[in-house]
Structures are given as C-alpha cells and as structure tokens.
Amino acid sequence: MAEVRLDASAFEHVTATRDVQTLTRPSLSYWQDAWIRLKANRRALFSLFIVIGLLIFTIFGPLFWRVDPSEQDLDQVSQAPFADRTARIVDAYQSWDGVMALPRGAGDTTATPRIELAQPATSQAVRLVWEPADLAHGYRIYRNIYPDDGGSALGLPLGEVFTPGRVSFEDRLDLTARTYHYTVVALDQYGAEYPDHTSIAVEVARVITAAQAEERGLVESAESVAVGDTLLLPLHPLGTDYLGRDMLARLMHGARVSLFIGIVAPALYVFLGILYGSTAGFLAGPADQALMRFADFVVALPFLLFMILFKIAFGIGPGESGILPMLVALVLLSWPATARLVRGQILQIREEGYIGASRLLGARTGYLIFRHMIPNTMGVILVTLTFAVPGAIFTEAFLSFIGMGVAPPTPSWGSMCNEGIKTMLTHPHELIFPSLFISITVLAFNLLGDGLRDALDARMRSRE
C-alpha cells in the first residue's frame, strides 16, 4: 500500500482536549417523541385537523347558520343543493271548470291521441287536457317522476275521470318545481284499463302568491310585489329533506347528537373500563376471577337487543330526544372490552422487571401506579378510545337507522340516513350528505387512531 506522507504534527498524541463523540440525536421524552412521530404522519395530522374542523362545525356552526333544523320550507321540499330557488308571483288560485269534448268517432281507438297543458304548469296546479279516445268510458291519470319506460310502472294514480265527455284533469297534489311524467289511460265500462296509454312530460315552474310570500316572511307586505315578479326563496346551501327542512342545519344539529354520543359514550365507558379493569388487575386472585367472569357475561349479552330494551325501559317522554337512554345503554354494555384490556396490561406490567426494581428502591404503591403503570397503559388506552369513537358513532347511526335511535324530530346523522334512503333514487343528496359526514368522521378517527398507535407503540420505534 502506498503510504501517504503526513505532517509530523499529525502524530502528536492527543489526550485531554478530545471532543468526545456524543450521540447526535437529541434525547426525547416518551410523549415528545410520540408527538413528533404523530406530526410526521401526514394522514394522522390531516385527520386531527378534520376532527377539529368537525368539532368547530358542530359547536360553532349553529351560531352562524341560525336556521331551525325542524322548520319546514314547504316551497322547497327535497330541494337539491344549489338548485334554482326563484319563484314567480302569481294570482291566488282560481278554480277551473275543466274541458268537455266528445270523441270524434274516427275509429276503435282505445288510446288517448294527445295530451296538452291547458295553461303553463306551475307548482300551484297542473291542468291537463287530452283528446278523447273513442272507446273510453273514463280515464285514469298517473303521475311519475320517471319517464314512461313502456308501461311497467306508471307511477302514482292521481285520480279517475268518469264524467261523460270530460277530458281534463287538474293536479294540485304536492307539486314541486321539477319534471313530472303524466300518463292518461282509457278505461272501459267496468273501470278496467285498456292496454294503450299516452304520456306527457311536464316541467313545473315554482310559483307563489303574494299573500303566501308575505306569510312566509319573504316580502314586507303583499302589496310590495306584483304578479309576474320573481323573488328568491330562503337559501338552503345543502338542499332540503323530504319535509323541506334545511339539510345544513340538520347536519349541524345531527352532528351534536352523533358526536356527543360518539365521544362522550366511549369516554365514559373507557373510564368505567379502566376503573373496573385496574381494580381486577390489582386485586388479582379470586376477586379478579369473579370480576372478569361478570365482564364475560356482559359481553355475551346480545348487544342490539339490550340497547333497544334499555331504551324502551327508560321510556322516551314527549319532547325528549332519547339521547340519554342511548348513552346509558352504550356505556353499560360496552365497558368490558376496555376492562379486559386494562386488566391484562396491569397484570403484565406488575410482572415487569422495572416494577420490581422500583419496588426494591422503596417505591410506594401510589408512586408505582402514577409513575409506571398509568404512563405505560396510557398509550393503549388512548388508542382504544380513538378506535371506540367510530364504533359508538356507528352504533348510534345503526340504531337510528333501524328507527330505534333518537326520537324525531331530533336529527342525528343516522336518522337522516334512514330518512334519506327512502328517497335515495330521486333525491340522493338526502342520503349522501349524512352518510358522508358519518364516513368522514369515522375515517378521521380511524386514521388518527392508526397514527396514535404507531406513535405510541414503543415497539414500532425500534422497527422503523
């Protein structure tokens, strides 16, 4: 090997002033390290922001969006988000005599040749006139929100016309601003339908009378608007539900129910579980055995049945929301899992070398509990709590969904889903928004739980 010539001073002996190599990584406490690891986990951090955002939405939202969640806006029922909310002022409703016509007798037609509108269709009334069918003794009128697909389903039967010669029908049934498909079917002398029918698509315009506008507080007085003016109906940013209630307000108030149960119930039962589990763990022996057998039995109880029985047993008085019975039932039935976990942890930690070492150094029981046992179980408990939140939110949603949760009109995300699923095909937003909120909340808590577990699990620290 070619040796390098070096300066002679390079070979001087160094003794005292050697800067000793120190570990370059700073030493961190358990929680500091956990926080750094959590911050490094972008998904967990993002979820934390979502959770905080949800809490702000729930707590402060109703202060800014002061719409009553149970107020019905009958002009805008099942309104989609950002839909047109203009309404034209019209005269008050005037009755209509209808139209009479005789068949032209051109042949054996059983189908109505043509349907027309007697006047532009409005949400006040839709007036249909048709040309008579030769063999018709009467007519049945159907209304559908889907186009006629060849006759399998014609929709809602609105009524029948049996007055000889009458070829008109007026529909005033719950009209909203949308497209309807009307079908007229000719009937024979026994009232049975002929197979042929004719359909028409009708675009209904939203109208309101001046008196109604005043009554609903849309204008100062009925005189300030004239027929033909358009005015804006109340804003519903996320639309309305099937009763015309504001979705945004309901989601905010529903969040109060869902998040309240979702956070308070786990907090309570985890606390109960910690008390029970640590007592069992400390007592050990036969007392522990007895306590844990009881916990096993509670686990074995059919959860759903007892949730419902609890609720019925509590009874929901008029005007009560039924939140409290649900909370109590959840707490009473859910604690054993945490209890078992904590007991296991305590039993395990009791046997750890550092507890023995600490005891040898003269530590008292209290010191052992607060200095060693609680910090070492804290991580597991925190993670359990985070994962318990989605569970409780799901339970609330599930119960409300099968109609066993909060009592109407109190909104909760679950009961909103229950209502929304009925109109899923026509007004998907009524299902989409509450289920989106449930999913995002549960997602955020799940990701946060994952992040916390990774951050707090000491084993993971050495692995990565």
Partner: protein
C-alpha cells in the same frame, strides 16, 4: 381434545342460560307488554288473553315454565302472529339469514386474507396504498350506506343492461344472494384485511422467514408455506367475533334488500315486545354464536400445532 370440546360446550350452555335469564327479566322489566297494543280492547279480553299466554302467573313461575319448555326445545307461540310457533318462524327464516351470513363470511375471510397478504407483500407500494385506501373506506362507511349503494348499483346495472341481470330485492335464487352477501361481508372483509396485513408484516420480518430465505427457497414457497399460514392464524381467532358482527349487520341488509331473514323478525318483535319471539330468537342466536365460536376455536386448534398438542 374431546374433553376440551366438552368443557367448552358446558361453558357455552351456561352462557346461553345466562343470556336467556337476563333477556327474560330485562324484557319483563320493560313497561308494557305484547297485549298493550290493540288486541286487548276490554278488560275481559285482556284477562282471557293473559290467562292463555300465562301472563297472569307470578314472574318466577313464568320463568320456570319458559325454561322448562326451552329445554324441551319449545319456544312457544308468537304473540303478534297468531297460531305461528316461534319454532316455525325460526325454522322458516333462519336458513335464509344463515345462507346470507355464511356467504358473507366466506367472502370476507377469503378476501381479507388475500388482500391483506397482498398489501403486506407490496408494503408502501401502489397495490398497498390503493387497497388500504379502500379498506379504510370500507371500515368508515356504515353498512346501510353500502346496502343502499349496492342496491343503487344494481338498479343502474340492470338499467344499463336493459334486463334484470340481478334482482334488486327479495329472496330466491343465487342472483338474490350475491350483492347482499357482498355488502354484508364488506365491512368485515376490510377489518380482516387490516388484521391480515399487520399480522403478515410481522411474519415477513420473522426469524423463521429469514431462515427460509437463507435456505434459498423460491419466493412462492416462502409465501405459501412460511408466511401465509402463520399470518392467517390471528385471522382465524377473530372469525368468531366476525360471525357475530355479520349476524348483527344482517338486520340492515335484510331490511334494505327486503330479504325474509330472521333479523327482520327480531327487530319487529322487539318493537312490538313480542315476548316469545324475542326470547326464542335471542336464545337461538346466542346458542348459534356460542357454537360458532367453539367451532372456530376447534378449527384453530387443528391448524396451529401448538394449540392442538397442548
């Protein structure tokens, strides 16, 4: 092994007895009774009905009679559906729920093991990221939303195809089962995938897998013989609770897809406080779940030699 099974069965019977007792007294503690709906219009009719159903006797006597009949395998007659015995209701509707549940659990277990193993093998690569995103979604979306989405997609698919490829609701042929079973199994599959992934990640770094690599075995052999088998053990242990979860989830799916399963009857019975139907279905489900957990444990013993031989 036989002794182990017998002990477990005995414990199971005690658990079922406990469930039955707790349900019985909890149910009777609830204000109102099945007759308070509309049938008992006059005092006399009410009295006659009470006598017929034995409701006039003291509670502990009723309990004794019920337990005796239960041991004989007789769950009594429904309060709300005249002349229909609870045994008949169970006999007719349980097979529907069971078929749905078994399909769902098979779907969930097979899917969970495969996806979980796949994500662990491709850790932090595209397949892992995509599957875990779907899994998180699967865990975070409530079952009734899946049910609604499942039904919606059926409608869309049928519309698009122009014919009814798969029926949207009801019960009958295989076509009725596929989508509800998938919807029912989805949440559990997501949960099992997560479990399998973490268990697989532990196994991937296990010492014996390193040994297998040092032996120069082909990757497929290492995967099948050394990783998959060991990693799926924890999945088997949670199958018992998973079956319970699927049973509960069955209510919603049966409700949404209009499937005549036992779950719907149960919810209905609870709402109407139909004592005998509640008791019958609860005890039956309880016994079924206890049996399932025992079977799962026995199966676990068969695939894990450490349990089998100790």
């Amino acid at each position: 092994m036989t002794r182990y099974i017998l002990t477990r069965l005995l414990q199971g019977i005690i658990t079922v007895w406990f469930i039955a007792t707790a349900t019985f007294f909890a149910m009777h503690a609830v204000p109102g009774d099945p007759l308070s709906n509309e049938k008992a219009t006059t005092e006399l009719i009410r009295k006659n009905l009470e006598e017929r159903y034995g409701l006039d006797k003291p509670l502990h006597v009723q309990y004794g009679i019920y337990m005796l009949n239960m041991v004989k395998g007789d769950f009594g007659i429904s309060f709300t559906q005249q002349n229909r015995s609870v045994n008949d209701i169970i006999r007719e509707h349980f097979p529907v729920s069971a078929t749905l549940g078994i399909l769902a659990i098979v779907f969930a277990a097979v899917g969970g093991v495969l996806w979980g193993a796949l994500t662990a093998l491709y850790r932090n690569k595209l397949p892992d990221i995509v599957i875990m995103f779907l899994v998180i979604l699967g865990i975070s979306v409530p079952s009734f939303v899946f049910a609604a989405l499942g039904q919606l997609s059926l409608v869309t698919i049928n519309d698009w195809a122009g014919i009814t490829l798969l029926p949207v609701a009801g019960w009958g042929g295989v076509g009725h089962m596929i989508v509800p079973a998938m919807v029912l199994g989805l949440g559990t599959m997501a949960f099992l995938t997560r479990l399998m992934r973490s268990s697989m990640l532990e196994v991937v770094n296990a010492d014996y897998v390193r040994t297998a690599k040092s032996k120069g075995l082909p990757a497929t052999r290492i995967f099948l013989k050394h990783q998959l088998r060991n990693a799926s053990l924890p999945v088997v242990t949670v199958l018992g609770p998973a079956i319970a979860a699927i049973t509960t989830g069955g209510f919603v799916v049966e409700l949404v897809f209009a499937i005549p399963g036992l779950g719907r009857y149960f919810v209905q019975a609870v709402q109407q406080l139909d004592y005998t139907v509640i008791m019958g279905t609860t005890v039956f489900y309880g016994a079924f779940l206890v049996l399932m957990v025992i079977i799962v444990d026995v199966i676990y013993g068969m695939i894990d030699p450490r349990v089998r031989l100790s």
